[in-house]
Symmetry: D2
Subunit: 304 residues, 4 copies
């Protein structure tokens, strides 16, 4: 039997003083001032146990990790009609996301590239009168934690400077794959990305993906099939153009964000979250990737 | 010696009842109601003579033809610094203009694709307090005609539906190749495209390109080198992905617009404008392309 | 406990008379004459039990499925130096494989696109004096079956008409990512693809991927980590541009071939092979895809 | 009246000692040993006069310049059926020629990219029993010079190392746009590129393009329309991805080769050839480009 606490602590110790910590994302001013020394790990087992080390209790900007949660929110509402507007294939290179979208006539490759997440956001904006309020409640519910909130400064900052997302949303609109006004959809999208959670809160929010769709509060959030499918999407599309690399080296479904968070899932067993804000050249947390590689090497756990 | 009036009339007669007239551009509602039977030709020789036939005196939306005029307006102001922000190479396929822009790091291929013309518009917005007013005066001056105006409904219509241009402008902004606000630049851009001129007015406005930079009013508008270079750009980039075809079949520098206008230039000799609103599959006037092919075949005139 | 025999038989019965059977691959004349009514399923559990239905005992051309076996053959020899010459990322669209190869400077996206498998073939040609003989022995060994052989007519047919593979190999050579002569490498490659196995033989050959690298004969063929990594590659890259779809709908690592075979693996449990020669539009067996979707739906088994 | 001899001599003097001479093409060993100090200019006027300076009388490898001559040879034979197999549009970036060919279903963008010239070569191989002999005679005839020959070592060298051309030819074959065997077509193609001519011989061979299709020997080689069209193709497609730049800066139809030659044409007036083997980053002769820019600046001659 694996002693998760010991494994996590040993990884923390091995990596906490690593000199090469990657680059902090600089395109959002509010994120650029984070201390690159931050490093936390948190594992939530479906048996109820938790294991953690380091800065697992400091909230950080979850950014693209939010795309999995917005998909999970929308999936029971729109069901498989989602896939009429978004594909489920890996995207390859991230540097030409608009090119891909243009070549593929406005159908985003998958829900985890920006264009795909913007279409998901559009669905939420269509469905709810106050999507930001509803989505925040969904997250508070999943984590059983009423303290969670958006960082409004981060959202505003993206609103001022997220020109590439405006380009994507307008291109979606040109292809008739956006129902609402660009500004309304992006207002929601920038807020969802600006959610701040700790490692523990993220592990808890993702609990349902390890537990056949049933969340920490024992509510059925997703059908078993929906939970499996989102796991499959995380595995094939969760890490930009490093998705194959992560599957190859770590072997778990997962999702990263430019805030330095990574969440990974072993279905039927646990969720594990790492946070270290320095990024590698592909935009994924450098120390986080190393930590998860060590974790699956040490525990010999993977879906493969 | 060529009898231009006779040539133009014979072409008019041969084509005016052609059954296949192409498709009217439908993406701008205001343009979609134009009668596809309209067909006019006007030639202005630098010796001062004019020749014309058909609907040469009806104003139409010049759309992309305006890109040559905005470049001519900005060239003497910004000189060769323009080429730090825009390239001078043909663009090939039009269906993936955003892809090209993305792959080439926000440097538009040439000033006649939309992204390039938007950068030119940005320069005018930076330079003038009231760019729309100044540009309109420039056109009135070139043509010696104070009646010319924007069609404000067409401009508004594009402002509401030109999502692809908003996408391009935001992508330029993301690459730091747009100084002003997207909305301000596109406001100017949509108006420049919504200018309405007759065939005669267009032939007169382009007089300077046939006349070493000296306009109809005998003012020096461009250096001889600048006039030549714009002619070269029209030849290589004036017809979307039919630029090679036009050079091959017609052999004159020229520019088309989705309003159905085509202007062509024989340096040292004349400008010739055709207008017929039905478009071929590449977005160029179907009857206009035929008329100009007939013109160069009958007269044996071309730059080659 | 699942009654695999019953499940497989029920799927066989449900699909065997399906009217829509897809299109037989026609580009290899020898394959085009196969009867589209053929349909077989075979499951090999690591506990030693076998379950099967239909035409599980008829040999067919395994084509691209061979790419997994050649990778497994070369992996213990070249170890991770393989990844200096081939990447591990999904490839997306199959229609532009040469474009991808060109844009990425001759480094194939993964070992399961043709260009990647050709580089693997090059490694075997470099390492063995008689690679065809050695590879055939490897397959005979894996399956404990000395009757297996290449179909030399199929190989010759590809040699005469496989211009796209010649193009890929020459492009690899241009990028200095092929050590041997194009003809020598493709001679091996066309033969590996022309191997003929039954569903049972394929399930047996893939046994090691379900069993931590230990084959049916209880020989250690791959390290546990190597077996996992090949499973990860099958999951992310095994089905051309339907890899995401297969992960999403079926949720097992797998590999298809244009001969109509599909092999899938549930690590620690079993391998399952289907064969039905008609292909869907993406080039994967139409009935085989349906059969495996039904299988994971009925059994609720998947890695997710 | 322009004193061409004086202009050419002044350009020669200004550039002959230029320190920055570009890079000699190294991919063909036989070309890599050429002295980068070589520099020649030769102008042939259709009035019969010649003007020259420097190394105008040393033969060099004409490489891609030969593509214009093979097109001129095939045009009167195949007439406009050529354009069913090759387009007439500029190609843009040279680094992804195979990508373009793949995306456009095996129809080369124009006859001056390698794939297009290979299709032209295929036509000659189909038409003649001994295409190498016939093409050489054509060149000897055009120049009225029986001493011209292929450099067989250069042709052999390309045959051994021209993998990218083998890739292109195989891709054309895969798209059914090559009638003959790849090896036969490339044997002709590598020889045509390996022709050696002096600046004078090139100016003479291109005489017909300045003279309405009538060659130096006063034979009608091309119809006036064919000559014009080839001039148009040179203007739009003659300089890889610097075609726009050359039109913009020089303003003459022209063609360059990696041997360092450039030929330009002013229709109705003259042909001018420069040779200096050092290349700029786009693969065009560095000193040659400068010389032609100086020439059109000093003489104020261009088609625009």
């Amino acid at each position: 039997m694996i002693d998760f606490q010991k494994v996590i602590e040993s990884i923390y110790v091995e990596l906490k003083d690593d000199i090469n910590r990657g680059e902090i994302a600089s395109y959002i001013p509010e994120l650029s001032t984070i201390d690159s020394q931050n490093f936390g790990i948190h594992l939530k087992h479906i048996d109820g146990n938790s294991y953690s080390s380091g800065d697992w209790n400091i909230p950080f900007s979850i950014q693209s990790i939010s795309k999995v949660l917005s998909l999970a929110f929308v999936f029971p509402i729109y069901k498989d009609t989602i896939w009429e507007r978004i594909d489920v294939e890996p995207s390859g290179n991230p540097f030409n996301q608009l090119s891909l979208l243009e070549l593929e006539n406005g159908i985003p490759r998958n829900p985890f590239i920006n264009a795909g997440a913007i279409v998901i956001a559009d669905m939420l904006v269509s469905h709810f009168d106050n999507p930001k309020h509803e989505f925040l409640n969904f997250i508070k519910d999943l984590t059983n934690d009423q303290t969670i909130n958006y960082n409004y400064d981060v959202a505003k900052s993206e609103q001022r400077t997220g020109f590439r997302n405006y380009a994507a949303a307008n291109l979606l609109k040109a292809f008739d794959n956006l129902e609402n006004h660009v500004d309304d959809v992006l207002d929601f999208y920038f807020h969802q990305c600006a959610l701040e959670l700790t490692c523990e809160q993220l592990s808890n929010a993702f609990f349902m993906f390890a537990n056949h769709g049933i969340c920490l509060q024992q509510k059925k959030r997703l059908s078993q099939s929906q939970a499996k499918r989102i796991n499959a999407l995380m595995l094939t599309c969760g890490f930009y153009d490093e998705a194959g690399e992560f599957a190859f080296e770590v072997g778990l479904p997962g999702k990263s964000g430019v805030g330095g968070g990574i969440i990974a899932v072993l279905p039927n067993h646990f969720t594990i979250t790492t946070w270290s804000p320095g990024l590698n050249q592909k935009g994924n947390s450098l120390i986080g990737m190393k930590a998860l590689e060590k974790f699956t090497t040490k525990t010999n756990l993977s879906i493969f």
